[in-house]
Amino acid sequence: MPTYPTQCLVLSRRDIGENDRCVTVLTPEFGKRNFVMRGARRSGSKLSGATEPFTRLKVLIATGKSLDVVTQCEITAVYSGLRTSVADLAAACYLCEVVDALLHEHDDQSAAAVFNLMCHAFNLMQQPALWPDAVINATLLRLVTELGYGPRYDQCSCCDEPLDNGPAAFSASNGGAVCRVCASGIKDAIALSAEAVSLIALLASAGARTLTTICPPEKQAALATSAIHAYVQFHAGRIIKSAEFLHAVRAGRES
């Protein structure tokens, strides 16, 4: 069997057969892939820790007829700072689910950029931040931009007119900010203040320092977060299940 080495970031895992696990990973060369880890469910297996979500690995893969099987594996990062609070775990879980939903297997055009984006996000999420959703929101915006459908902020994404009087809403189906005239006729338009749209634009380009120190007014922050969530969910084409739990944890009403 031919083999190849790669790095990867574990997004999710599921049990298969008696003792095995299949992990869905991001690789910098081939984008999203599914790898089989034989025996990973046996107690004491060296592989079981490597199947944990938000773990970074160096692996050697044997390409079989239908499955890629991990033959050697070394954990290179565990992002243990993500595992110390329910909110951080919920956030990391949400990010993984979104990325999994947005990417298609063997769609490796922007693989390296997406891989680096996610590793960077997990590193940043371990640092204290004034607005914990800033890093996630920024990562999601960069992700959709990398995949070729980033939102527009400067012109109405519906009629292309410049947003001189400020945008009125955000529409996932139209591709970003929309003007007052267009907003009334768009079903999925989320009413947003000009400040909230500027906040989204800022998140899309801000550096690490800004992301950990930014502290927008609560209402603006919540609006931007829900607009970004609606945007990625629209492009993912399915409900992001872990969003509700994250939202509940953030709001302090998690059950």
Binding site: S12, D15, G17, E18, S43, G44, K46, G49, A50, E52, P53, F54, T55, E74, I75, T76, A77, V78, S80, R83, T84, S85, V86, L89, A90, A92, C93, Y94, C96, E97, K241, S242, E244, F245, L246, A248, E254, S255
Partner: protein
């Protein structure tokens, strides 16, 4: 497939079982077909009986055929100590140690937002009235996984305000294990859970 209809139905049902692929399902089905009538009747009855007679213990949510399970009604056990586990099979593993003499609480799963398993779907609500009723320590014995840790942290945040001592079992190297063979995640966790040697 070219099975006779009743056989196809059995293979189909068996295939739904965890860890049973099409090959194993076929093998089990033909085994059942060949065994004496009496034997397969016993199997069918056992399956029906388990569904009819097993329910959750009113106290600990473990599977039992009584209102209150044997462990909860055992007065010789320490009723001030509560060990929280995810599944009945974890309870059985703890019992096999012969070390633990307190009570249990079985969550019947772990929080897993990606699988739509939120706290309200688990036996978490049932835990709190027990804790305020004379329990001094709650031991969280959950898997060292993202789901296990999410559940442990979640429970700890809900239990601490009740004035109870909340502890979590240590995560680290397996007995008889080799330090240089351990993965990074295990070593980090072993370091975090170190304690003073006396």
């Amino acid at each position: 497939m070219h099975y006779a209809k009743p056989l196809a139905r059995l293979v189909n049902e068996l295939e739904r079982l965890p860890g049973v692929g099409p090959k194993s399902a076929q093998r089990i089905a033909f085994h059942i077909l060949r065994q004496p009538q009496e034997q397969s009747r016993l199997l069918a009855e056992a399956i029906t009986a388990v569904k009819e007679n097993i329910r959750f213990c009113k106290e600990c949510s473990n599977f039992t055929d009584q209102e209150i399970c044997d462990i909860c009604s055992d007065s010789r056990r320490n009723h001030t100590l509560l060990c929280v586990v995810a599944e009945t099979r974890d309870l059985i593993a703890m019992e096999k140690t012969n070390e633990y003499r307190g009570l249990y609480h079985v969550l019947q799963g772990l929080i897993s937002p990606v699988d739509n398993v939120t706290p309200d779907l688990l036996k978490i609500r049932e835990l709190f009235p027990r804790v305020v009723n004379g329990v001094e320590e709650v031991i969280l014995a959950l898997n060292p996984t993202a789901e296990g840790q999410t559940t442990a942290l979640y429970l700890a945040s809900k239990l601490r305000p009740l004035g109870v001592r909340v502890t979590q079992i240590a995560h680290g190297l397996p007995a008889g294990g080799d330090l240089d063979y351990a993965d990074q995640a295990t070593l980090i966790s072993a370091l975090q859970w170190r304690r003073e040697i006396t």
